[in-house]
Amino acid sequence: MAELTKKGIGGFLARQGILVAFVLFMVGFALANQRFIAIDNIFGVIRSSAILGVMALGVTFVVIGGNLDLSVGSMMSFSTIVVLDLHDTLGPTLAIPAMFGLTLALGAFIGFLVGYLKLNSLIVTLGMLSAIHGLTLTWSGGQNMDIADKQGTWFSVFGQGSIAGVPMPIIIFGLLAVVLGLVLSKTPFGRKIYAVGGNGQAATFSGIPRARVVFFTYLISAFCVATAGLLQASRSLGSQNTVGQGYELEVLAMVILGGASLLGGSGTIVKTVIGVLIFGFIENGLLLVGLEFYVQDVVIWLVIILAVWLDIAAKRGRLWSPIA
């Protein structure tokens, strides 16, 4: 009986380890520094996590579908630069849909290559990382992009505004998380993504249009990237060409931290949101207890490996790998 309970706790820890870790972190930091759980601090953390968080939502779809998307960082730079540039030429009302259209077109191209042509997603998106960076530089002429009249535009509302005291980026992130969470967990399309990522061949044999499903996961990812670009542009009203550089791997790390398997077929939006928040709160918590910003990188490294390790250890029933 005692053993059973132990096994139960162990199993729970392994399954929900990331949640447990999250709670422990929160409690620990809260005890160490009261400011940590102050509402404005929490808002601050979520707001600064929102841009990467929005991208992580999209990448979750791609990863559950059994693929990778390494182009999101570069694509996000593209969206940011494009919307800033078009803001001054077309005006904000037209610039936003135009930027979304262009970003979705890039997503569709990747979706076509990976979904319909069945090319390896790692290499395709690696290539697109470089290609889109080229597009961005072409668009901007290599210069930083700034809005001419920073005071007089309503465009800043997405990044800087707030409704009832809640910052806009949090509202947008939350709204998107709820909508995409419902799409993934409750709709037939969501179910098909899990099937395609879990066992693509079985999905085909069940009459699921695998190529189309993969295509749409990249469209969703592109939509999220466009939203992130909008938030970034609106917050800073000016940007470098490389604003999203390196985000692709950071975002992927958040998704994996949330428990999505790189093999596809598992993961949820809720878990990804937890992954995003852990990133944000660890950084914030460590700063508040007086540690330097780079300590978070090291801590997150350990957390990621521990999380994935415990997950697969629970599945194989032993802690250490069977590799000879």
Binding site: N120, L137, Q245, Q296, W301, L302, W320, S321, A324
Partner: protein
């Protein structure tokens, strides 16, 4: 010649054919478009090209071995930066300064040791936990970069040592120091992969891991050695780069992992492991650098270079798939 052999030769030769094509294109296009009066296909230009390929090239060589193994290493960029910092910083340590120029080789040893240790950390985690190398090194990419910042915050680390810079700028038989390192590493690794038991086992493991395990090959330690090797090479690359400049930024080496993987894939190494060659990777590295320089030569900027390299990578993937199709009766899954 059997059709299989011909196909193999085609695969091996493709990257060199591509390089010849690039040379021809830029030489001819340069006649009309060149922004300078220099000739593209000059010895000096080609030597410079080799020298500029060295930092990513040396890493790509190591990446080839790790990828033949069926693994990947995303942390090389951070290792690169940390090793460079260790080298430059260690020369300012009091006891090192007392050594005069003898501090240089010692500082190199420190840097290389750093790389090997970081590689060993990756390798040990992959071996002992069984977590996929992609995830392990994705994590350590963040973690190692954290260590880089921990060393000197966001400040660049610099140390000017003229002997060191002289060495880095030195030429021997017309080749620059960096080029010698690249070619030397390529030769040694080529020997390793084609002549030694360790190299042949690397192919066997990537090709059919179960068979390798059943044949008694110690897969875990094998992984460990290769991760230490790529750590060593990333550090070597860091040394070669920072010896010349005498300074390193904490953000240096970012995205090197992606460039190195691009070069390796262009060289034809299979992502799934089991197939690939050091020589072809060298070809991939040179092809990319040629493209950079060539496009610059005909007046195109970085933007075009990025665009073209990305699209070429995808095109290579597409061609490779078309060549390996089985025909119409294939199962549509």
């Amino acid at each position: 010649m059997t059709p299989e052999k011909r196909k193999d030769l085609l695969k091996q030769g493709a990257i060199w054919g591509f390089i010849v094509l690039e040379l021809a294109f830029f030489s001819i296009a340069g006649q009309f478009l060149s922004v300078t009066d220099t000739v593209f296909l000059s010895v000096d230009n080609m030597l410079l090209l080799l020298q500029q390929s060295a930092p990513i090239g040396i890493i790509a060589l190591g990446m080839t071995i790790v990828m033949i193994n069926g693994n990947i290493d995303l942390s090389v960029g951070a290792t690169f930066a940390l090793a460079a910092i260790v080298m430059l910083d260690s020369m300012t340590w009091p006891f090192m300064q007392a050594l005069g120029d003898w501090a240089i080789p010692l500082s190199w040893c420190f840097a290389l040791l750093t790389g090997v240790v970081l590689g060993a950390i990756n390798g040990l985690i992959v071996w002992k936990t069984g977590v996929d190398a992609f995830i392990v090194t994705l994590g350590s990419m963040l973690g190692f970069r954290g260590l880089v910042f921990a060393y000197n915050g966001e400040q660049p680390t610099s140390h000017l040592n003229w002997t060191l810079i002289d060495f880095a700028e030195a030429q021997f038989l017309g080749l620059n120091t960096a080029s010698w390192f690249l070619l030397g590493a390529a030769l040694l690794l080529w020997l390793l992969m084609t002549r030694t038991v360790h190299g042949r086992n690397a192919y066997a493991i990537g090709n059919n891991r179960d068979a390798a395990v059943n044949a008694g090959i110690k897969v875990g330690p094998h992984f460990l050695w290769n991760f230490m090797l790529i750590g060593f090479l990333a550090a070597l690359s860091g040394i070669v780069f920072s010896s010349g400049t005498g300074s390193v930024n904490p953000n240096d080496g970012m995205l090197y992992e992606l460039w190195a993987i691009t070069a390796v894939v262009l060289g034809g190494t299979k992502l799934a492991g089991g197939y690939g060659s050091i020589v072809s990777t060298l070809g991939g590295v040179i092809a990319i650098q040629l493209l950079r320089k060539g496009l610059g030569y005909v007046g195109a900027g970085t933007e075009t270079v990025n665009l073209v390299i990305g699209l070429i990578l995808i095109a290579v993937l597409f061609l490779d798939r078309q060549l390996n199709r089985k025909g119409k009766e294939e199962l549509k899954t």
